[in-house]
Symmetry: C2
Subunit: 201 residues, 2 copies
């Protein structure tokens, strides 16, 4: 026996989300049935709206509304126009913005170089970074904020080799102990990096 | 800084689902942006459809399409009309149907009696069960398939006390070891119940 079609379809839709299997999808679908009608309508609309009303900023690749392109950050002339922070995705921009400690610009790659997955420099938002740097000679530092894993490191290395000869300063986020963490819980690689990157007091 | 409104709204909608916090909601929302447009449209439609096109069967309380009421099980006269399996929700009906080993009818309470949560017999689909039993004298056994926790047991006890004087046989699903399980991993209560409910070989 199968569930009635409307709920079977909803379960199927939930199953397409990452990390949600058939059991969780069923639980979510039944929960949806018990939700306020307004909330379900909002949910339904926001799915379509997120898909239709958003696009990537034509300068930096960050996510932005169709009506705000270039994005708010790129349009903000009060920001430091000489520094570009390169990140993998829009969530990284948000994480950085929430620190309220960086006032430069961003460039969102929307991916990383990953030879194993067959993703090369041309497959991510990297050519536009090269164009951007040659069009805007005022940019003199590129901070590479890709994740601290194999793909992130590979992307950082690629950028450094490409941009350094052009006289642009390429920096990488520091590796080390997380603030508030215990040394004896840190993994070996992080400890090694923390020693290598030690600073004078 | 906040996310653009369309994605902020979608994140907010995802957060309303059970077990999904802000981090997961953000991940799901960004994943949604990268989904096939058709899948997102289907998802959006299925949310509305599940809310609009489904209702509870007016006989048994199981979930059913608006156009199929009473539900398919209640309409199926080939099923054993003398036995009613009482469960907490529609997922339990599905679990039981998937065993393909029960051919009677169901009654879905859509809840359990829970004094601590203030849920009494009148707040769940129980009065309709009483009416159903008095209208259909052919029903001679009620199998109580509520969950094996405090609320489920309380509901089972309530039903037994109410229905037994009316001459209806009230049975409860057996407690014991799960098939294929190890005795040394079973919890004490389950072991005690398994001994109490031992059967002769």
């Amino acid at each position: 026996m199968d569930y009635p079609e409307p709920i079977a379809k909803l379960i199927n839709s939930y199953t397409k989300l990452p990390g949600i299997g058939p059991k969780t999808a069923t639980r979510l679908a039944f929960y949806t049935l018990g939700m306020q009608e307004d909330d379900v309508v909002d949910f339904s609309k926001s799915l379509l709206s997120a898909k239709k009303d958003l696009t990537f900023c034509r300068i930096c690749g960050n996510i932005t509304e169709n009506s705000v392109n270039p994005c708010a950050i790129c349009q903000d002339k009060s920001r430091d126009q000489s520094t570009v922070f390169v990140v993998e995705n829009s969530r990284d921009v948000m994480a950085m913005e929430n620190t309220r400690d960086y006032y430069g610009l961003y460039h969102v790659l929307n991916g990383v170089i990953s030879p194993s997955a067959g993703t090369g420099p041309e497959d991510i938002n990297l050519p536009s970074l090269i164009r951007r740097l040659s069009d805007h000679q005022e940019i003199n530092e590129v901070i590479v904020g890709t994740n601290a894993n194999a793909e992130g490191e590979a992307t950082a290395m690629y950028l450094a080799r490409l941009l350094k000869p052009a006289g642009i300063k390429v920096t990488r986020l520091a590796h080390g102990l997380a603030v508030g963490s215990d040394i004896d819980y840190a993994d070996q690689l992080t400890l090694i990096k923390a020693v290598q990157g030690r600073t004078e007091l």
